[in-house]
């Protein structure tokens, strides 16, 4: 049976990890490399690493840093931030990424998601969608790290990305992000029901119960979180134990004493 993934999200700006509230008020939360090492040792299910300095700029991804970060990462690593063409994807995969997340460029270069899928397979493209609620069950999407309204309605946009070849959707509520008040469950439920690809819930997790709700009530295939792991005593392992307690299938860790990593 396929397991529900718990995915720490690492936002990376200049030289360190940061975490904001509502995509703003960034706080430094430490260096990148030790965080990845610790998560790897603790066998998290997957990591998402987004370079938020690159969004909307013409700069290319920092392949050297990605190569350093990937050095000790033996769980899947999705890398995002500023990706605008498939040559960048090829280089990121060479550097140590296993898949990429695409957000702003999906709006400005409509062929990009399909091009990546055609070359590297749909499983390589995680479409990241940032969303604000307008009330009455309507959510609209934002590009450029949540700063530019696109006018797109989320269900229609999610379906379009699925049609173009996205393999997963990383769905983030801008308003909930960093608040630790819980995921936007109606949003996740609406998108998960509208597409056939997996939906990763993101934005708002503050305790394990929020993660259980995202899976059981809203139908998320995976739960991403940042603040809860940066600012509280709660851990990915604790999250998985809580999910298991709620009857959700989670990955068992493999014991191989001779193969410490």
């Amino acid at each position: 049976m396929l397991k529900v993934r718990v995915i720490p999200t690492l936002l990376w700006k200049n030289f360190g990890l940061v975490k904001g509230i509502g995509f703003d008020s960034w706080r430094r939360v430490g260096p990148v490399l030790p965080a990845i090492k610790v998560y790897n040792q603790r066998e998290v299910d997957e990591l998402v690493l987004v370079d938020i300095t690159l969004c909307g700029t013409d700069e290319t991804p920092d392949y050297e840093s990605i190569a350093d970060f990937g050095q000790d990462c033996f769980v899947p690593l999705a890398v995002g931030g500023g990706i605008v063409n498939i040559e960048q994807v090829r280089r990121l995969l060479r550097a140590g990424a296993d898949k990429v997340t695409v957000n702003t460029a999906a709006y400005t270069t409509p062929s990009l998601v399909g091009d990546i899928a055609a070359r590297f397979g749909v499983q390589c493209v995680v479409a990241s969608i940032d969303v604000r609620c307008e009330g009455n069950g309507v959510w609209r999407t934002y590009s450029n790290a949540g700063s530019v309204p696109t006018g797109r309605e989320v269900i229609e946009w999610a379906r379009e990305l699925e049609d173009r070849g996205a393999g997963e959707i990383l769905l983030t509520s801008i308003e909930r992000d960093g608040t630790m008040e819980g995921y936007d469950l109606p949003l996740i439920e609406a998108v998960a029901a509208a597409v056939k690809i997996p939906v990763i819930a993101s934005g708002g997790a503050g305790n394990y119960r929020h993660m259980v709700d995202a899976v059981i009530q809203a139908g998320a295939s995976a739960v991403a979180a940042a603040s809860i792991f940066h600012y509280t005593e709660q851990t990915p392992a604790g999250a998985k134990a809580a999910l298991a307690e709620a009857g959700i299938p989670i990955r068992q860790t493999f014991s191989a004493p001779a193969l410490e990593i």
Partner: protein
Amino acid sequence: MKVGIIDYGVGNLGSVARALEALRATPVLIERPVDMHLNDCLILPGVGSFTDCARLLDQGGWTDAIKQEVRAFSRPLLGICVGMQLLADFGTEGAIDGDPRGTPGLGFVPGSVDHLSTLGCTLRLPHVGWNEITRGETPDNLFDGISDGTDFYFTHSYAFAATDPSDVIATTDYGVPVTVAVRRGHVWGTQFHPEKSSRAGFRLLANFLAGPQC
């Protein structure tokens, strides 16, 4: 031990190389078919779509060279993800109109590669995340020390349909039984990513490196 990683333009080569280094092997990214013979064994990685990958293998002169290396020189080969799928006779992903069986693969393990939905799967696709394996009836040393129920990391929408069930050395359940590891002679393939399956994947790669042929 020198492990040649075939660099034909796709694949998460960095991740595969890192895992091998951690296992104290020496990964070598091979950019020209002529350099394949310098290695003890070969890995055909894959993050890609079948037809695109098959075309890249053809264009780079890899297809015939790999067949020669494996058949004539008995070089052990491990295909990962699309690299495993390319071991088949045919794959339908991205196939251009023509042969209904799809695009030809390397033909090391008889069978074809089809979309999971055509194999009866009605669950969300791609099949992405950690799923548990069940070993085949014949024990294979690739799974030494890895028990049934061990989780590996998957990410794929197409799956291997082997002609001969005895080539299937592990399966998983995703609504339907899915072939996730094959072996014929000294050619192995895994649909999951051992290089990204943490300790379980390390154990499997160590088993491949320790194989009598490698």
